[in-house]
Symmetry: C2
Subunit: 335 residues, 2 copies
C-alpha cells in the first residue's frame, strides 16, 4: 500500500530532531492556526445523539454560507475524508483521473475501491475513457485555480459517460470567487467542503458534500445516522451564522497571510503558489532546507514528487512571524 | 426502505403534544443522563487533525478499560453506528441472523449491503446457512444476556463457515461481568463498544470494534484517517483512565437506576427486563400509556413489534425521579 505522509507529522519530527511540542512551530498543515471563537456547548449537545433538528439547522446554515440553491442536496460528514472514503461507491468501478499534483487521499480511496487511477496536469488532457475526475480547487499545494466554466462543462461530459466530477473546495472559503457551490445540484457534480481548515477546527471533523438530491441520499445512506458529532454541528451552525465574527476572522486571516508572505520575501524564498491558508515556495535545496528548519524546530511540508518545493502554513500572530523569520535566518546560516 | 424510529424523537413528540424542550422529560434513550465530567480541551485538540499519538493514547486507554489483550486489534470509529455501516463488507454477501427483538440498525445495514437477513429468538435456532450472527449483549430493550461460552462457540462455528459473530456490547459497561472483551482477538469474533451510552456523551460519537488484528486493519482502511474527532479521543482517554471519578460515577448510576425501579414499582408498572441504563416494563395498554405520558411531557420508547412494552431511560436525580413519579400518576389518572 502506498505510504502517505500526512500533516501533523510533528511526533515523527520530534523523534528525529528533538524538542518538546511547545518548542516547535508546526507549519506543516493548511489549517488556520486561529480557532474560530467557540460557542459554549450546552450539556444536552454532549449528552444526546445529534438529532434531526440540529442536523437540519446546521445544514441550512451551511447552505446559506456556501451559497447553495434549494435544488441541491447537502450531506454533512465527519470530515471531508469520510466522504472521500465512499465517493468511489457512487459509480461502477472504472477509470478515475486526478488533476495532479495534489494531495493523495482521493487517489488512495479510488484505488482501494478497485478503480484504476491516472493523473494529468490539465483538465484538457483527461482521457475520453475516464468516468470520474478529481479537481482540488484551489489546488493543494500549488493554489492553481480552474475556472468555473471549464469545471461545469467537464461535469456535464463526465455525467454523460455515467460518471461525475469531484471538485474539492477544501481551501476555497477565503476565496469564495473560486467556488462553484452555486452550481451544486447539476448532474455529474460533487463539491466537497471542509469546515476545519478555514475555521481552524481540524480536530472537530466536519465536511460537506454539495450535489444532486439523489447523490446526497446515497451518501447519507452510506454514512448512516448520527454521522457527525453534536458539538461539531452546534459549533458549525453558530460559526456559519455569525457574520460579524466572520468578517473580523477573515481580516485576521488576511493579515496573517500577509505576514507569512513578508517573512518569505525577507528570507528570499520565492513563493510560486498557495492559498490564503498556506504558501508554496520553490528552492533548489528545499529538502536540505526542510531538515535545517527542523533543526530550528520549524516543521514545514515537503513533497517527494517535487523535491524543490516547501509548503509553509500560517504563523498565528506577529510574534510567531518574528520567531519564524529568525529561525529561517538561522537555518540558512547553518547551511 | 424500512422506517426506523430513533431515540431523540423529542421534536416529533413536541409537534404532536406541545411544550418546550425544557418542559419535557426525555426518557426515550438508553444514554446515561449524567455527563461524565468533561476535561478542559486544549486549543490544539480543536485546531489540529487528531494525530496518531492521540489516537494511540486513546486506544491504549480503551484496551485497559475494556480488558482487551495485546493479541486483539482495536478500531476507534465516530460512533458504533459508523462500524455497523461497514461490518457487512467484511465478508462476501450471504445470510445474516439477528437475535431478536433488538434495535434495528444492524438489520438495516446488512440489508442495505445486499445480505439476506433473518431473525431468531435464541442462538440455538440459528440456521446452518447463516454466515453472520448479531447478538446485542446485554440486549436492548429486554436486557437478555447470553453467556460467554455460547458466544465463543458460536463465533468459532461462524468463522468455520467463512463468517463471524458480532457481539454488540453497547450496554455492557455497567455490567462488565457480561463482557467477552477479554476474548477479543479470536477468529470470527467482532465486539462493539459504545462510548457515549454509559459515559453520557452520545453527542460525542465514539465507538470501538475489538477483533482480530486483520479485521481491525480492514475496518481502519474503510474508515480512513482522522475518523474520530480530537475532542472525542481526548475526552475518552481521560475518562477511561480516571478510575476515581469512574467509581463515583458508577455508584451514581446505580443509585439513579434504583430510583427508576422504585418509581416504577410505586406506579405498579411491572419491570420485565432492562440494564443499568434503562428499564423495560410490560403493560397491557402500553401504547395508550405512551400517549398519556406524552401528554404529561414524559417521552418513553414504545415498540411497534411489542405494543405492550415501554422502555424508560433514567431520571437524572431524585428531583427528576419525583417529577416522573407525579407525572406517571397523572397519566394514569387521565386514563
Amino acid at each position: 500500500m502506498m505510504q502517505i505522509e500526512h500533516g501533523g507529522a510533528l511526533d515523527r519530527a520530534m523523534m528525529r530532531f528533538g524538542g518538546k511540542p511547545e518548542d516547535w512551530m508546526d507549519l506543516s498543515t493548511g489549517i488556520n492556526p486561529e480557532l474560530f471563537p467557540l460557542s459554549a456547548i450546552p450539556p444536552e449537545i454532549w449528552n444526546r445523539l445529534p438529532d434531526q433538528k440540529l442536523l437540519d439547522t446546521t445544514v441550512n446554515a451551511a447552505r446559506q454560507y456556501y451559497g447553495v440553491e434549494r435544488d441541491a442536496g447537502i450531506v454533512a460528514a465527519p470530515g471531508t475524508q469520510a466522504l472521500i472514503q465512499i465517493l468511489p461507491q457512487l459509480a461502477a468501478v472504472g477509470e478515475a483521473v486526478i488533476i495532479s499534483p495534489t494531495y493523495q487521499e482521493h487517489e488512495l480511496s479510488f484505488k482501494q475501491a478497485g478503480w484504476s487511477v491516472s493523473h494529468c496536469q490539465d483538465v484538457k488532457e483527461i482521457s475520453q475513457s475516464a468516468k470520474v475526475a478529481v479537481v482540488v480547487n484551489p489546488n493543494n499545494p500549488d493554489g492553481r485555480i480552474v475556472e468555473a466554466k471549464i469545471l461545469l462543462d467537464l461535469a456535464e461530459e463526465l455525467h454523460a459517460r455515467g460518471g461525475f466530477l469531484i471538485v474539492d473546495e477544501a481551501f476555497s472559503d477565503p476565496h469564495p470567487e473560486t467556488s462553484i457551490a452555486s452550481h451544486a445540484g447539476m448532474d455529474g457534480l460533487i463539491i466537497l467542503k471542509s469546515f476545519g481548515k478555514f475555521f481552524g477546527l481540524g480536530g472537530l471533523r466536519l465536511g460537506f458534500a454539495l450535489t444532486t438530491h439523489a447523490n446526497a441520499e446515497r451518501l447519507k445512506t452510506r454514512l448512516g445516522p448520527w454521522a457527525v458529532s453534536g458539538p461539531a454541528l452546534f459549533i458549525a451552525a453558530n460559526a456559519f451564522s455569525d457574520s460579524r465574527s466572520l468578517a473580523d476572522y477573515r481580516s485576521r486571516l488576511t493579515f496573517r497571510r500577509k505576514m507569512l508572505a513578508d517573512v518569505l520575501v525577507e528570507a528570499k524564498l520565492c513563493e510560486i503558489g498557495g492559498t490564503s491558508l498556506f504558501s508554496l515556495v520553490k528552492f533548489d535545496q528545499a529538502t536540505a532546507l526542510y531538515d535545517k528548519l527542523c533543526e530550528q524546530h520549524v516543521l514545514t511540508r515537503k513533497f517527494a514528487y517535487a523535491p524543490q518545493w516547501l509548503r509553509f502554513g500560517l504563523p498565528l500572530d506577529a510574534k510567531a512571524a518574528d520567531v519564524l523569520s529568525k529561525r529561517i535566518a538561522k537555518a540558512f546560516a547553518a547551511n
